[in-house]
Amino acid sequence: MSTILLVEDDPQIRRFVRLALQGEDCQVQEAGDLTTGLAAAGEYRPDLVILDLGLPDGDGLNFISELRPWADTPILVLSARNLEMDKVAALDAGADDYLVKPFGLAELLARVRAQLRHRAGRELADPQVRFGEVIVDLARRQVSRAGEPLHLTPIEYRLLTLLLTRPDRVLTQRQILQEIWGAGHGADGHYLRVYVGRLRHKLEVDPTQPRHLLTETGVGYRFVF
């Protein structure tokens, strides 16, 4: 049974999130502010933290930066702020995914399940990764689609494996650019647009309606199986 820490100041939101998670057979610990939240994180060692960004005694960003040095617990951020830079700041600080308020239960549960699945460490035991018609052989550095070998450039391959090895996590544009092109390219978003576009044309059935390489507009990218 997974333990989930819910740090949120609104009792009604806590109530329905708790009910939903208990329905998923999770144990839910609740905290109404940042200080109790951090204490609870130390005490219960949760498998997942659901964190509201606007807390009465501080910014949720502080929670992330305080937690990250000693725990790699996945963090799902709830943001009432519609401003993309808040989400980007939370993700850059070490959060794994975000949901904008208001959100539906189905969406919440899907995100929670995805994070818990990775927590269980199931993926990447097999060096062969499959999605759709595509098979990526991480050991041989080969990619094939519907049995036919696919030719990816070195950057395309690195970009694909970067996203592929962190499924269901939102990587910000800056994180990807720094990882693939280096620290000097943090602002060169157009590289990312072009390369993601090329990857979609090579890997997706319909590049205009991608199913695996998803855009989080204004924030970054997410890979889903």
């Binding site: 609104d10 009604q12 939101i13 109530r15 329905f16 999130v17 009910l19 939903a20 329905g23 606007g54 709830l78 009432a80 702020r81 519609n82 401003l83 993309e84 308020k101 208001p102 959100f103 539906g104 239960l105 189905a106 919440l108 030719h151 450039t153 070195p154 950057i155 060169d188 978003g189 157009h190 590289y191 647009r193 072009v194 993601v196 576009g197 979609r200 319909d206 590049p207 205009t208 309606q209 991608p210 998803l214 855009t215 507009t217 204004g218």
Partner: protein, 507 residues
């Protein structure tokens, strides 16, 4: 005679006609002293005494009395000291040389002496004038309001006797107040306005009397800031024209400085206002979203739980959720529009792929599009376009949502993208009833096409505002074969260069 000096200094020269009386007295006194000394001193040496007297007269009484003293000294010397005494006759012809030398020396020294004195006075006047201008400039530099500038300028000019001045500043429309002291003979002419618009000095002499009105434009480095009206007499004007010009320039610079102070303050206020508006919007957004989140989540919980309840309760729960979702849509539309209307829209522009933003919008709208087959038809090789991806995603999303809401289920929706000259066009076309004619549907709060469809009518207004902020156009048209088509353009630019990857494929 009126004083023409702006800053009379403490001069040791005696002025007025009685200088000549004094001259007469000094010369006579010299003659008496000389007469008294005749027994002991040679007459030629006594001539020196007269020269000394002339020199002092030149120094203290000026050039005119010195001239008189020169001739008078020679005459008195001849009369009292040259034999025969008490007569102008000269016994010894050699005294004629004495007279000539005496007169020449007296004239030259007195001329030189009086000129030196004059120059000293002028130098002192210049220094005092410079000092006064410096003080005025310093005072002007410390002013915080235009009224203070006017007060300082007027006070300074009023130190010139017989001079009155006024500072005329334009109202916001550029009109100057009509000069109150303007003489009646001017008629409808407004010389102040002329001076202001032409940037030239205009003089209006009074036909009777010796007074003149002079209008000096306050020509600051950037533009004419107003007019300085000076009422003075002709003689003062003749001598003080350069000074008036300097004062006008100093005043102009002060007024311009205050203008920029005002501009800077207004900008500061505007920035503060925008910051306040943004913080109000952001806290409003937070305060509205928190209960909405609870509402949506709790009704969702009810829907899930309601599956095991009697159908009537389950239906109620579903209706609740539907209404909650509508409320969410409306609130987010209202907040968006408030943000768009809150002033200059801060666009977060980046070079983006149209294909990507279309895909993201479709993904976002997927639940609303379930009952409509969707066709996407983008031209291959569309270039990157510079836009704010979140806002353009919102535009495409709103247009898709609009098409889905106002068309019967089962009818197709087509998204197309094309490049046309210097613009990229995205169109969302449907097979529904089309847009209503003769209604400005882009204005805020105009409801959509079919009665009963939900929405506050804000969606299209938001789209229009966003597209316009990007320098594009939003057009709504009905297709001849039926259906509505919403098209918007985005200007194309030159995307930044990319270092293309050089690589060799592994064998």
């Amino acid at each position: 005679m009126k004083s023409r000096q702006l800053f009379p200094i403490d001069r040791r020269r005696v002025r007025g006609p009685y200088r000549y009386g004094l001259t007469l007295f000094v010369c006579l006194a010299t003659a008496i002293i000389a007469k008294w000394l005749t027994a002991q001193v040679d007459p030629v040496n006594l001539a020196m005494l007269f020269l000394l007297a002339v020199f002092f007269i030149a120094l203290y009484l000026g050039w005119g009395p010195a001239l008189l003293a020169s001739f008078l000294s020679v005459a008195l010397f001849d009369f009292f000291l040259v034999p025969p005494h008490l007569s102008f006759a000269v016994a010894d012809v050699q005294y004629l040389i004495t007279f000539a030398v005496m007169l020449t020396v007296a004239l030259i020294t007195s001329r030189l002496a009086s000129r030196i004195v004059q120059q000293r006075i002028e130098a002192l006047e210049r220094a005092s004038r410079t000092q006064a201008l410096y003080e005025m400039a310093r005072e002007l530099a410390g002013t915080m309001a235009v009224s203070q500038v006017a007060e300082i300028t007027n006070r300074f000019l009023s130190r010139i006797p017989g001079v009155h001045s006024r500072l005329l500043l334009p109202d916001p429309s550029g009109g100057l107040p009509v000069a109150a002291t303007a003489p009646a003979h001017l008629g409808p002419r407004n010389p102040a306005q002329e001076s202001y618009s032409l940037g030239e000095v205009i003089e209006v002499p009074d036909p009777v009397g010796d007074r003149t009105l002079i209008y000096l434009p306050l020509a600051a480095p950037n533009r004419v800031r107003g007019v300085l009206e000076v009422d003075t007499d002709v003689a003062t004007l003749a001598s003080e024209r350069p000074l008036l010009q300097t004062i006008a320039t100093l005043t102009a610079i002060a007024v311009e400085r205050l203008h920029y102070v005002e501009v800077a303050q207004a900008t500061q206020v505007q920035i503060e206002g925008e910051r306040l508006r943004n913080s109000v919007l952001s806290s409003l957004s937070h305060d509205l979203r928190t209960p909405l989140t609870a509402l949506v989540g709790l009704t969702d919980t009810l829907v899930v739980a309601g599956e095991s309840l009697p159908p009537i309760h389950h239906e109620t729960a579903l209706a609740l959720r539907e209404q909650a979702e509508k409320l969410v849509g409306m609130v987010s539309n209202l907040l968006d529009l408030a943000r768009l209307n809150a002033g200059r829209l801060a666009l977060c522009k980046e070079w983006q792929s149209l294909e990507e933003v279309v895909g993201a919008a479709i993904k976002l709208l997927r639940p609303a599009l379930t009952r409509h087959p969707l066709r996407v038809n983008l031209e291959p090789d569309l270039p990157l376009v510079e836009f704010d991806a979140i806002l353009i995603e919102r535009v495409i999303g709103n247009l898709l949502d609009n098409a889905a809401k106002h068309t019967p289920p089962g009818t197709a929706i087509t998204i197309s993208g094309a490049q046309d000259g210097r613009e990229a066009w995205i169109s969302i076309c449907d097979r529904g009833p089309g847009f209503p004619a003769n209604v400005d549907i882009l204005a805020s709060f105009v409801r959509g096409r079919t009665a009963g469809a939900s929405g506050t009518g804000l969606g299209l207004a938001i789209c229009d505002a966003i597209v316009e902020a990007h320098g594009g156009r939003l057009c709504l048209e009905n297709l001849p074969e039926g259906g509505g088509c919403a098209r918007f353009s985005l200007p194309l630019g030159t995307p930044p260069a990319m270092d293309e990857e050089v690589w060799e494929e592994a064998p």
